[in-house]
Assembly symmetry: C2
Homo-oligomer: 414 residues x 2
């Protein structure tokens, strides 16, 4: 665990080590690390694409949607520049700004990540529909720049959406292998946003539910199943180009190299699920609970045979099984990059049940042709008996930041 | 990270490895682990005391309070036996029961921890006042056994208690180095409790805020400060015996080897805190923000000098600084074992602020002489400007389970 390593490192040097580490922002060298990604525990902040999308999914997430409270475009642009500078530092393992500046001013870093590893922190920023227009008003003069692909999502069968967990003019997704590092990132951006934007909703994801790289095992969701085995992997260059990244001839030009995020807060009714039989559970997903293999197959990664029938002529993967309805085979080759996390937010006081489930986050080139038909297809999913969607958001994720650049630069200056 | 190690192990053996691991419940051997506690990643379940108290604080916590819905003592005793059996297995890294039993029955384990390390899981159980009597009614014939030390907590100055985050007939604290392992433990005990008890409140703690062993660095809270530097450490045998464990001549006899837990959900108003100056923040805690040293000292572990005065004759540690008021020096030697975690539960919709802070959990021999006077002393704490207590609970933690025994055996059979 990178956190423990960092502590040992600091402990071995004492207070002098702590201040050294704070200054350089790079620690952990000389350590034996058994975490795949931990060589430096730093994911490059700059690049063609924003980090946190094709980065192998980190273990923890803290994501917040913000609403803009200013009516001045200059404020928004200035905040995005300040956010970029702070995030660039935090992703390098440095404080967002000096902790010990003037004693008479608030610290320019909130301090809770001092002494922690960079933990592969990534911070990914996007713009919701409200960034471009609100109630039809061209609030910042950006309405003409709203991408056609940034649709207003239609209603879906399993929607029980709560406005308090939905929408937002901006999204900030922080992922890392240490929850406190993700919290620290959002905390500092919220501090910097003061007077310009406020958090609309925030969501802690305590464990990743997606494998986005061939170096990772498929994790289990809180229903105990491996799901998303056939997710796009970041190593699949052709699929990433075709299904995820906005292409070099796509419009608008400022979005090239970017992508679109759809976030769905999916409550799992685990108390009901836990009372269903093993056979029901496996027929619902279409997979063996223990091995993760498609029903009728022996290995998790064996190709799903949607046409296979048993001796009685019945489909081995049921008509309404989740893996059938979510399969790109069923969806004419349409795929998405899933990058979700489990959540546990205490109790749903209306029902006395655990308020727990999956923050489903996906990235794609064109939501209207990818998430929307997939989610429509899932209206027939037997899984709907055990889940409900309680939050929803869609965001345009601009391309990566260049050295010296800032989030949204292609929009503001393109 | 133990979770990653476990995955690699499983990955290297493939599906055969997965089923082997599931059967034996012990994995990770042959791995190079850099986590202090990870040698086997198993904390012994049985012993004089319950685990999860003097265990070096693990990184993650998921805790739930339950209310009993049965009116039969036999049901309660049977549930505690079933809970013990399941927890004994889970703490050994095994499923709570067979996942693949009959296809026609619900699985006896919910499955989401298959393939994960035991991650030093501990499960600690206690009894709230309602276990012994509710509204003055001797609901299970246990009223005469209620320990005098299990008081009803008085009201405190910073209380803004929410019944939805307070109380409970039973408490179950699960701690581990993997959040999913803690969730899995509570999830399965809730499943087993069906018809006898329901969850009243649950709380995820995403990062530990206490050091309870000399092998651990002092972590930072979400205000960015090291707090609890002078916490009792499990290596302090004399202090543990004197301040934490119910002694061999204490009453009632069934509690000997046990302790008392006080849990307080403390909201931090971090938006306000973030706007206060560095000097204000440091004067509030009485420590340097970066080094954690007491004001006027240079090292975190330098003895706090509460009488020190500066050149102008002013106290270096202010009169109302947190470390002064919480110090055992100020409290006639009274101490507690702190074992808390940070939480982030989305937004407080009433204020639009982050619903975040500290789940303060402490263990002690006699709350009326330890937590209560300490918390009363903190009524004058400058920190109260930035916090409020939104949840509260007190629980009698019975002694450890013996081989073949169960939680509460000394009460039921003593």
């Amino acid at each position: 665990m990178t956190r423990v390593s960092r502590r040992h490192f600091l402990g071995s040097l004492g207070a002098a080590g702590a201040s050294l580490a704070l200054t350089t922002g790079t620690v952990g060298f000389g350590q034996v690390e058994n975490d795949v990604q931990a060589a430096s525990a730093i994911v490059p902040f700059e690049g063609t694409h924003q980090a946190g999308i094709d980065t192998p999914a980190q273990e923890r997430m803290f994501t917040a949607a913000f609403d803009l409270t200013t009516d001045r475009l200059d404020d928004v642009q200035a905040m995005l520049k300040n956010w970029t500078d702070a995030a660039r530092r935090m992703c390098a393992g440095e404080p967002a700004g000096p902790v010990s500046g003037s004693p008479y001013l608030p610290p320019a870093d909130t301090g809770e990540a001092i002494g922690l590893s960079p933990a592969n922190l990534t911070v990914t920023v996007g713009f919701g529909p409200g960034f471009f227009e609100r109630d039809g008003q061209d609030r910042f003069g950006l309405k003409a720049h709203r991408p056609e692909a940034l649709i207003d999502l239609p209603a879906f069968a399993s929607d029980e959406l709560d406005p308090e967990h939905s929408g937002g003019d901006l999204i900030v997704q922080a992922c890392a292998d240490d929850a406190q590092v993700t919290f620290h990132a959002i905390h500092n951006l919220a501090r910097i946003a003061r007077g310009i934007a406020v958090i609309r909703w925030s969501q802690l994801g305590f464990g990743r539910t997606s494998s986005t790289s061939r170096t990772q095992e498929t994790p289990r969701n809180l229903m105990g199943f491996k799901d998303g085995t056939n997710n796009i992997k970041t190593e699949d260059d052709d699929l990433m180009r075709e299904q995820v990244w906005v292409g070099s001839s796509d419009q608008p030009a400022w979005m090239r190299g970017g992508t679109y995020m759809v976030a769905r807060r999916i409550r799992m009714l685990i108390e009901v699920w836990d009372r269903s039989s093993l056979a029901d559970q496996e027929q619902t997903f279409g997979r063996d609970k223990v091995t993760g293999a498609p029903l009728g197959q022996s290995g998790e990664f064996t190709m799903v045979d949607l046409d296979a029938r048993d001796a009685k002529g019945n489909l081995v993967i049921p008509e309404r099984a989740h893996i059938r309805l979510a399969s790109h085979t069923t969806l004419n080759g349409v795929r998405i990059l899933r990058r979700g996390y489990s959540f546990a937010d205490g109790m749903d006081i209306r029902t006395g049940q655990l308020d727990t489930g999956l923050v489903f986050i996906c990235f794609q080139r064109e939501p209207a042709k990818q998430f929307v038909p997939m989610q429509r297809n899932l209206a027939r999913d037997n899984l709907n008996e055990y889940i409900k969607h309680t939050g929803s958001g869609i965001y345009a994720i601009p391309p990566g930041v260049q050295p010296g650049g800032y989030w949204g630069q292609t929009l503001f200056e393109g």
